[in-house]
């Protein structure tokens, strides 16, 4: 009965987001920084306009604080209406356990597959041919953000790629700047490493290591180069005593640091601070070396609810999130790329347009999160955290341990 009913409601709903009876729907997420909050407000606005009520369940502290709460609530039998997860394999088991709602009917009715920007986005929502989540944005990790003013202060031109940036580091030091801002959290360090691998090693190397889990390659000379670059980064990051990524971004915004390797979400922070791309800061996708971006990003999952009205509201929300207008509004604020290719992004700034171009040209590399399990991910995070904070660990040692982790990965 359920799929049928879902189909029914979906079809009556198509196109117009009215006529629905008002239902409160609790949405949990961990978007609490300035740009993130502004973006999520767009969803809330659109959902409220459809006659329902968005009950905001933001939990600060990032995914590591929020995720256990979300999982506990879903498994504890008190699920929320909808919840954020990252793309990838995080929610796999929840789906397998039948706790997450099947959205296939809605997706087919609305023709998601036809308008999706990259097929991999829907694929990561799919299990056994059924769609279980709404991808809402594309985030790419492979960006280098540079402070124009900082380089001006140091009396050198703004670099155009990673190597120039490394070369400029001593001058920045002289000018009393930290060349590379880097937060202390493990995911930031591991992220930076992956970016180095994507950009300096290229797509093939990334896939060999993370998709094929080829331990030989991981121990080989190509990856050794990446570790050498990471050692450079380690040196350049010395003196950035911050934890959160946006604090590190803030160092770039306030010109205390030369640059930061960070995903495109950092753009939201520049925007909130009133900085203009090209004038105040420079963005280099693929570190200016290898212009590829990954399709990381967020997705929303809808736990199975007993209440019929709420179930219907869930569908409405899913539809609102996928809707072209909300996609634009949301992603402009969030600083990420929309998941639809049929949207107009004239309002986007230079950096976003750069990203969009690369995306449409197919310069896409699969997100590492989709290739490895969270478990392997944290193992590598642990290694990178150690590596970046302890200069006594040589790149060679670190690489050896890296190869071991890859060898044992599932």
């Amino acid at each position: 009965m359920k799929p049928f009913k879902a189909l029914l409601t979906a079809s009556t709903f198509l196109g117009a987001a009215t006529a629905a009876s008002a239902t409160d729907l609790e949405v949990t997420h961990w978007w609490t920084s300035g740009g993130e909050a502004a973006a999520v407000a767009e969803f809330a606005k659109a959902f409220d306009a459809s006659g329902h009520k968005w009950v905001d369940g933001a939990i600060a502290g990032g995914g590591s604080t929020a995720r256990p709460i979300m999982i506990s609530r879903i498994t504890g039998g008190d699920p929320m209406g909808a919840t954020q997860f990252n793309h990838g394999r995080q929610a796999e088991e929840l789906v397998e356990a039948g706790l997450v709602r099947d959205l296939t009917d809605l997706a087919e009715a609305e023709g998601w597959r036809d308008v999706i920007a990259a097929p991999s986005l829907l694929e990561s929502c799919t299990l056994d041919g059924k769609i279980y989540c709404v991808p809402i944005n594309i985030h790419s990790w492979q960006w280098l953000w540079l402070s124009n003013k900082a380089f001006e202060d140091a009396g050198i031109p703004v670099p155009t790629n990673w190597d120039e940036f490394v070369a400029a580091a001593p001058k920045l030091r002289e000018a009393g700047k930290v060349p590379l801002a880097m937060g202390g959290q493990p995911w930031q360090r591991k992220g930076a490493f992956d970016v180095l691998m994507n950009a300096l090693g290229g797509k093939d190397l990334t896939l060999k290591v993370y998709q094929d889990k080829d331990a030989e390659v991981a121990a080989g000379p190509e990856v050794a180069k990446i570790f050498a670059a990471a050692a450079d980064a380690r040196e350049m990051a010395e003196g950035s005593n911050v934890q959160d990524w946006n604090q590190a971004t803030n160092m770039v915004i306030t010109d205390q640091a030369g640059g930061q390797i960070m995903g495109d979400w950092a753009q939201g922070e520049f925007q909130v601070a009133g900085e203009v791309a090209g004038e105040d800061y420079t963005c280099l996708p693929g570190l200016g070396v290898n212009e590829i971006i990954s399709t990381d990003g967020d997705a929303f999952y809808f736990p199975v609810l007993d209440d019929e009205e709420q179930s219907k509201a869930q569908e409405d929300l899913a539809s609102v999130m996928f809707n072209a207008t909300t996609q634009v509004a949301f992603n402009l604020k969030k600083g990420s790329l929309p998941i639809r290719k049929d949207v107009d992004l004239n309002a986007a700034n230079d950096c976003m347009k750069k990203g969009l171009d690369i995306l449409l040209e197919g310069g896409v590399v699969t997100s590492v999160n989709q290739l490895i399990t969270p478990d392997t991910n944290t193992q590598i995070e642990g290694l990178m955290t150690e590596f970046f904070s302890d200069k006594n660990i040589t790149p060679e040692d670190a690489q050896a341990r890296f190869a071991e982790i890859i060898a044992s990965a599932e």
Partner: protein
Amino acid sequence: MAEAGLIDHTDAAAGSHSRALEGPRGARPRRVLSRRNIILYGTLFVVAVYYLLPLYVMIVTSLKGMPEIRLGNVFSPPVEITFEPWVKAWATACTGLNCDGLSRGFWNSVRITIPSVVLSIAIASVNGYALANWRFKGANLFFTILIVGAFIPYQVMLYPIVIILREMGIYGTLTGLVLVHSVFGMPILTLLFRNYFTSVPEELFKAARVDGAGFWGIYFKIMLPMSLPIFVVAMILQVTGIWNDFLFGVVYTKPDIYPMTVQLNNIVNSVQGVKEYNVNMAATLLTGLVPLVVYFVSGKLFVRGIAAGAVKG
């Protein structure tokens, strides 16, 4: 002149007696600045500074504007006192889309804390009483498990408890959270009450039994009225613990009953651009206000109660 006369008089009195009475007489002189006092008060003062410094920094910072925080050092008093951080922390700080600061969580915390404190103390005091006065077979085994349980990190128990609450059908409800608090407060509180009731003279208990009072009669009519101090201790410990709890509050409830600490975490961890240290400090102080007041008001009773409950084992 009267004074001089007095001195004369004593001199005369001393002179009229034999030389054997010379030497110390009267009250031993007490010097305020004795070496002992200097060391004693000096040490206490230095230690007090170590304890007070963080509070001082918090208060001072919460009264400064952001520009001043960036420039000055943390210990300097505010040049311009502003209460805006406090207002912001209480009423307008944002988490996600909700911009009503801590105010929302305050009443939730009250709603969580009061029943949890009452229930946990009620259970633990009865446990302690049963253990101290009505030893039945196996009681000590359960108590030992309980005490060992006190050492188990909460994180370990998160999952099993989710399952237990789910099976009981009270996951995500206030009842569930109150139960969880009672369960985790039980080991230490039971230990305290057990020790306290053990120190009550056993003859009193025997007299009451001869007088025909039963289990509950003795508990309510004899033991309870005698145990105010230990109840104060238990209350202080529980109010503090439950009010400050974050983990259980966030995992076992839902947003409309999130306690204040969840909001605090949200405010402190949602960094919108620069970290607003002044707002964070104000929020921190606001959240800690209830337990702090409880301590300042009942500190004396606390020591007395501890003396009653913990000294004798």
